[in-house]
Symmetry: C2
Subunit: 580 residues, 2 copies
């Protein structure tokens, strides 16, 4: 038996007990003939004491312990004279009578502390050591709790957890598939699922009614920062539902997770149409922890001879509360920030609404005080505020101003990582035009149901079609997306046709689904949560990487195990492939 | 809103309610101006009634419904005059006032009933219809419950569910890896995990203490019957444990699942050494639902001039209770059964212990009544029993007799699918000699700890070494296997050396693990349950296939989606591979 207690367990009520602990040496201190050893495990830290006067040999042994040695200490629990209120076991200490070194440790390449001196690369290479650090451990444990609570809620709602296959068929469109050469069927490949989409729809056809799965998905994309080639979804589908049923069910899921994991009352989830989100925030996943909504100024700002505005499709601004005291230098810096290639604004117009009621802008040449006062009024500005205005092509101007809004929100401390606001974005467009391929793409995916239109969706111009799709946005990040699906073969065929798939391609790729729709497919819809992202937001962090036990770097590599790696000639042969 | 109630929900207490159900047409009957429609969903079946006299148009509509149409029926709940005690809703029926066909259905290619007329191939091709059948649905729902209860138990025991990566590195030895070509690192491959073995050990090094995961694993093996290329494990690991801790924890898991899913008290789990299992059952996974243990007869049967026995390494028999009345024909048939190539016995010796106390054998030429009585005594036989004896090479004879024992157990009804007996098999050999490669292989895996020996394990001949390994056997199937692991770098290096890995190979394949062992690796051990098999045994079925929603066939194909399949030329190019 390696231990009688965990390192976070002993209390005043255990005084006098003979106890054995096993764990890691957090630190040792020598002080006037005494040696103090902090022993650590997942559950906490306990102080063990060795006394040179009582047992010199044992104390010498303790003096030789290094950081991260794995040890077993037996001793008697005693009340501490000077208590440590920072740790749960701080009232007691262990008067050690026995010490066993279970395993030694080299000096770790970085410190195993709350904040470490290790850089990203070395921490990834020694991920097993980084995982010992308290912040990473808290993340991994929180992720565990979130998964259990998600399951708990969904099971209560009569969802069934059903496993779908990982070795499926490649149906490349949109993101790239990872493929797996088949040895038993040489020349053929499996693909790893980008999501269990078609399988969960088949489960609805099979009558399982409510399905979920916390499941790994794969996408062979060029990795932008904070994307992983493998990621985890909470994947869900329901039969006999309308949009409202789905929204309420998964609003409930999110609230449950917040309540039981964060002890945080999320409150109601706001709803907003895609159009409003774009108009008011320039973004289909607005951060609504703060307002600073867009105000369009075309009616106020055109026709004064300012060519930039006169030629602009859209003039749009935000009001930064209390920022009228921004210096010229600060505003210049903001302007340069907006002109960086990542954002690409041509410029930034400002109006200072001074506390004395006067107005001062960068376009005073074209607009007098009354003009500017009208802007300020339109923007609900008060003395002390700063108006920031961009213009140009409508879509670009909105995107640029959205970035500025988020930046100003951050600078003003309006995006607190311990405050949470969730939002449903509804009524997305069904299709988006692909200029490169000269065809329509599905905004969500080809299985999404078009919203009914007055004249029938087939007579509506494709660009006007809306989707029965919804995104769940938390603090400005999309954490879930879903839709009501098509469940009729003819409609699904028309959709494939609209997306430019020939009948043969549709049959080859999705014939099984089209077939299933002919045998009694019920109306259905669902959603998938990006679990890694959800974890990082609840954890108050920007990066998902420290919420994944063994993540890959931005080149898709695991530097700890050194994967991917070459394979043996024999493997190539068996698979019937060779390097090109 | 598609429904107010499920199809298994309405009761006498709902009488008078206006209710809407959605589901599938199970069957329709017309009877004297009335049409009865059974509407089905996952929760049950409800009878809806249409009356030609009340609403002829509606009734006509109902008459046109076909099997598996998806419909929505609104009506008033009424007490039935003739109740159906076989279904939960059998006290009531729905007097229909509205009928909507949500989706039509072609006539299914096989009947959606408890027993179907569909063969294996067609059921696999239309898996989404087979999944509607009640027995398959029960299996899938039971699997869901088992997963939840397993998690529930393990969470109570403070295990953390931690996800490990699917895209890892190929370390071919033993089974073949599925590999995934990397596009971003051309010429390199990921491998899909055969199990998360090294990652869960790293988690112990990281201090997570108790880990579990219900996780998909992959093995590119030539598929024997009832093997799947992807399969699910309940994968677990614990730190600071000895064998006893692991056995008790997972005995607890199995009992918990039986109690909460099957409402079955499994009782204590028997323990047996590998040597005893082989000696008494000829099998390292004995079915202990019945005794019929092996008795060795070398001391009784040698030296009587029967050359077959005299030259045999082992003479070993079982006593089939109450089978003395087997006819000559029955015994001949058993003998032929034993002589089939799959079993390969040369012959089968029998002794009838007749109810009148006389003994009659197939070797009366060599053994008199006293000789045979001595056998009978050694085998604890009583009048009425039949002794069945094989001989030859010890390992082969045991294997053959094990098959016969299982067959006799089945014929005698001693292997009931609703009776469950679990067994730990302990003290496995550490190594087995590979005649082909002329080297030692690990019986369990290279990370398994050798049992301590009196003279130190390095001085013990490899063939005598035992492993700190254990298998959990349920009704004659191995449902879990695990071991206490090596946690010291020097010992792990010696083990790799013993297994014929060069230092370079060991470093290339497992350098990260050897490295981790230098930074404070705690003693640890674990286990993995084969979840598919566990489900099938609890479900009382022989095949795992109907406990997997979308299984593959024996050629590793999913005939429903038609995978694996060729990929596009563009994909080959991007991956830097070509067909050989």
């Amino acid at each position: 038996m390696y231990r009688t207690h965990h390192c976070g367990e002993l209390r005043l009520s255990d005084i006098g007990k003979l106890s054995t602990l096993s764990g890691w040496v957090q630190r040792t201190r020598q002080l006037g003939g005494m040696t103090f050893v902090d022993i650590r495990d997942r559950y906490g830290i306990t102080q063990a004491v060795f006394n040179m006067n009582t047992d010199a040999a044992l104390c010498e042994q303790a003096n030789k312990l290094g950081r991260e040695f794995v040890i077993q200490i037996t001793g008697t629990v005693q009340e501490r004279s000077s208590k440590n209120t920072k740790i749960a076991t701080g009232d007691i200490e262990l008067i050690s009578t026995q010490l066993v070194v279970l395993n030694a440790s080299k000096v770790p390449p970085f410190t195993i502390e709350e904040d470490t001196d290790g850089g990203d690369d070395i921490r990834m290479r020694y991920r097993y050591l980084d995982l010992r650090r308290p912040p990473v451990q808290r993340n991994i444990i929180m992720r565990h709790q979130m998964a259990q609570e998600a399951r708990h809620y969904l099971c209560q709602q009569q969802f069934l957890e059903i496993e779908t296959p990982f070795l499926i068929k490649s149906t490349p469109e949109g993101a790239r598939d990872f493929v797996v050469p088949s040895r038993m069927n040489v020349g053929q490949f499996y693909a790893l699922p980008q999501s269990p989409q078609t399988f969960k729809q088949l489960l609805m056809v099979s009558g399982y009614d409510r399905y979920f799965q916390i499941v790994r998905c794969f996408r062979d994309e060029d990795l932008r920062a904070d994307r992983q080639p493998e990621f985890t979804q909470i994947d869900c589908e329901m039969a006999f539902v309308e949009r409202e049923d789905v929204l309420q069910t998964f609003e409930g899921l999110l609230k449950h997770i917040f309540q039981y994991v964060k002890h945080y009352d999320l409150g109601d989830v706001t709803r907003m149409s895609y159009n409003d989100a774009m108009r008011l925030y320039g973004n289909d996943k607005p951060d609504i922890r703060f307002a600073m909504t867009f105000v369009e100024l075309n009616d106020h700002a055109k026709g004064n001879g300012f060519k930039v505005f006169d030629e602009a499709e859209l003039i749009v601004g935000i009001c930064a509360k209390g920022c009228a005291d921004y210096t010229r230098k600060q505003i210049d810096e903001l302007t340069l920030w907006m002109q960086r290639p990542q954002i690409g604004a041509k410029g930034l117009v400002y109006v200072r609404y001074n506390t004395d009621g006067t107005l001062k802008s960068s376009v005073d040449k074209f607009y007098n005080s009354d003009d500017l006062a009208a802007w300020a009024k339109a923007m609900n500005a008060e003395p002390g505020d700063l108006l920031l205005v961009v213009s140009g092509d409508a879509a670009k101007a909105r995107k640029q101003l959205s970035e500025l809004r988020l930046e100003m929100g951050s600078r003003l401390g309006l995006r607190r990582s311990d405050e949470f606001r969730a939002l449903w974005v509804l009524d997305f467009p069904l299709l988006e035009w692909d200029d490169d391929d000269q065809r329509w793409n599905a905004c969500h995916h080809p299985f999404t149901r078009p919203k009914a239109t007055a004249e029938g969706w087939e007579k509506t111009p494709p660009s006007d079609l809306k989707a029965e799709a919804y995104d769940l946005v938390l603090n400005g990040s999309e954490i879930a997306g879903g839709s009501i699906r098509i469940h009729e073969r003819p409609l699904q065929e028309k959709m494939f046709d609209l997306l430019g798939l020939t009948k043969e391609e549709a049959e080859h790729k999705f014939g099984f689904l089209l077939g299933a729709f002919e045998y009694g497919a019920p109306p259905h819809g669902g959603i998938a949560f990006g679990f890694d992202r959800l974890c990082s937001i609840l954890g108050g962090a920007d990066s998902i990487r420290d919420f994944i036990a063994f993540p890959k770097n931005n080149s898709g590599r695991d530097t700890m195990i050194d994967a991917p790696a070459p394979i043996e000639e024999k493997q190539y042969k068996e698979l019937g492939i060779k390097a090109n």
